[in-house]
């Protein structure tokens, strides 16, 4: 049994390390962070994407010029840049509003996903009864139900958060449930052998096992929560408290201002990246604390 335990713990450590490494490819690990490695990191990790970005923007600009693409179809990068600078106040406020809604929806998904997954892991009957519907609900088109959510919840922030939540909760449920059930058989037997209580089994074995899965779920959900918030803003908005990115996107589309639309899309992308980065940092901490 001791040998089993050792082997399984080692296996889990390896898996967790892999997960951490996978998730932190953009950042140097803490050990061995010297000036030469920093320089190497910049050369190997920061320079290539910058070159790619420069090539992309250059190609985009050249294509617009060469084929004389009208600005209502594809604006030039400089036109988008101009909008980003001229409307920065509006865009930053919108970014912040949409970001708040996305994070709120994501936090609710984390909570709800975990609670449901714990319930599913404790009762096979419950899991068999409801898990198929969780998967089924995942496929409901959000644009169809977003207007309904608005009607049920009323106009305002809560509607936007609700759409972000609905879109991001199912990956959480699916991943955490899978994680709770992924306990290695030898470890389960070990816990049984020592007469562990159900609570001990849950908190000391199932939950730590599920952490890497939860982290994966969160990363999937982080992007979905941003998309959800933007879709929510298509239908809800915030009334008098300001405009979110979704509102700005629709506004630009309705007035044929494609450069403004691109600017809002750039901000939406930056929001997705920011939320993902937050989750990555948080998950590294969580993996060290619980999952390692």
């Amino acid at each position: 049994v001791a040998k089993w335990q050792g082997r399984c713990a080692k296996q889990r450590r390896i898996e967790a390390n892999h997960a951490v490494k996978r998730n932190s490819t953009d950042k140097p690990t803490q050990n061995g962070f010297t000036s030469s490695t920093a320089l190497r990191w910049i050369l190997h990790r920061a320079v290539p994407p910058l070159i790619a970005a420069a090539l992309f923007v250059g190609g985009w600009s050249a294509a617009v010029q060469f084929w004389q693409i009208p600005s209502y179809l594809v604006p030039s990068p400089s036109a988008v840049g101009e909008r980003l600078i001229a409307d920065r106040q509006l865009l930053i406020t919108a970014w912040w509003l949409t970001g708040q809604a996305a994070l709120s929806g994501l936090c609710m998904s984390l909570l709800m996903g975990t609670v449901v997954a714990v319930a599913f892991s404790q009762s096979a009957w419950l899991r068999y009864a409801l898990y198929p519907y969780a998967i089924f609900l995942q496929t409901v088109p959000i644009v169809a139900i977003a207007p309904l959510l608005v009607m049920w919840l009323g106009y305002g922030r809560q509607g936007v958060i609700a759409v972000a939540f609905v879109l991001s909760v199912f990956p959480m449920i699916a991943n955490v449930t899978a994680g709770m059930l992924a306990v290695p058989e030898p470890l389960r037997e070990l816990f049984m052998l020592y007469g562990a209580t159900r609570w001990q089994y849950l908190t000391k074995l199932q939950f730590p096992t599920a952490v890497p899965y939860l982290v994966t779920g969160l990363k999937t959900s982080s992007g979905l929560s941003v998309i959800g918030a933007i879709v929510g803003e298509f239908f809800v908005g915030y009334g008098d408290t300001g405009y979110g990115l979704g509102y700005l996107i629709r506004n630009a589309a309705d007035s044929y201002q494609t450069a403004n639309l691109f600017a809002a899309v750039v901000l939406s992308t930056l929001l997705g990246i920011a939320v993902f980065a937050c989750i990555s940092l948080l998950s590294e901490w969580a993996m060290r604390r619980f999952g390692g």
Binding site: F235, G239, Y256
Partner: protein
């Protein structure tokens, strides 16, 4: 759009020219004249085979005309000016509605009877639309909560303090049938009155195929005149094209459109006509509202040469 055929297709063997007309909304009474011209063979008589493409919210009509994916489209005058400001070479050649049907629809229970006393309501408006910006910049919306418009009247039905944008001949009847008591407040009364349901086409089409544009415009004129005389067959056609529509709504729409298309207080010998000064006024308004940068090119946005004073079938 991949199914759309090659634009500006030349006349086929029988001398018939096939063109596409993209609508700006679901088939409705506001497109009555276009459907009448097609259904009653008025287009065919001028050797036109017109394929009418139904619209929906956010359908890119102006873009499709600008890219020559379709030869003709239906759009409003303010949209034409805004699209031209973004580089789309689109031109209005016919204006169905002389008075804009655009209104704000409120519940009678709200006690609101004028756009000047809009307050304590949630108002759903299309973001970026000319009239919405006009109301906002004019200070009419300072005491209301503005939310996006989704194209549905459902939120209006569940909340007495809810108001929404509407066309006077359309949504008010829908909600009345559902049991609501709406009051409509016309935006045109405040001085923002763009020509509505204009027939638009591409500058190149006007330059290279003026006869096609003339045939299309004059047949459309006859279509609208005929629509107001007898709409029975046309309404049957619209009902086939739009399963959500019902005959009572269409009949109501037709009656309301008669005054919007042929206003009683002006000489209305020519349906579809446009007045240059109104285009100029509108362009200046859009500049004031910050929706376009420059009003100087307003004359290029419309073309009166194709309208017949007394169109003959």
């Amino acid at each position: 759009l991949s199914t759309v055929k090659t634009p500006l297709e030349p006349a086929d063997d029988a001398g018939t020219t096939s063109v596409q007309l993209a609508l700006n909304w679901y088939p409705d009474a506001q497109h009555g004249g276009f459907f009448a011209a097609d259904e009653l063979g008025i287009y065919a008589k001028r050797n036109l085979r017109v394929k009418i493409l139904p619209g929906q919210p956010a359908v890119p009509v102006l873009q499709n005309v600008a890219m020559k994916r379709v030869e003709f489209g239906v759009a409003n005058a303010d949209q034409v000016l805004m699209a031209r400001a973004q580089g789309m070479p689109v031109v209005a050649v016919f204006a169905a509605m002389q008075t804009s049907p655009r209104c704000i629809m409120v519940h009678r229970e709200s006690g609101i009877s004028s756009l000047r006393d809009l307050k304590d309501i949630t108002l759903s408006l299309g973001a970026g639309k000319g009239f919405a910006t006009f109301l906002e910049k004019g200070g009419y919306l300072s005491r209301v909560k503005v939310v996006p418009y989704t194209g549905s009247v459902a939120p209006f039905m569940v909340d007495k303090s809810f108001a929404q944008q509407a066309y006077v001949f359309s949504e008010p009847l829908v909600v009345r049938n559902e049991g609501a008591d709406p009051v409509t407040l016309l935006v045109s009364e405040l001085g923002f009155d763009p020509y509505t349901s204009c027939l638009i086409t591409h500058e190149d089409t006007i330059r290279t195929r003026p006869e096609l544009v003339r045939a299309m415009v004059q047949a459309t004129q006859v279509g609208w005149t005929t629509y107001f005389k007898d709409a029975a067959k046309t309404h049957e056609r619209i009902l086939r094209e739009n399963k959500q529509m019902d005959l009572a709504s269409l009949n109501f729409g037709q009656e309301a459109l008669r005054t919007l298309c042929l206003p009683p207080d002006t000489p209305h010998d020519t349906i579809g006509r446009m007045d240059a000064t109104r285009w100029e006024t509108l362009a200046k308004q859009l500049v004031e509202l910050g929706l376009i940068d420059d009003a100087s090119a307003w004359q290029s946005a419309f073309d009166l040469r194709f309208l017949a004073v007394d169109p003959q079938p």
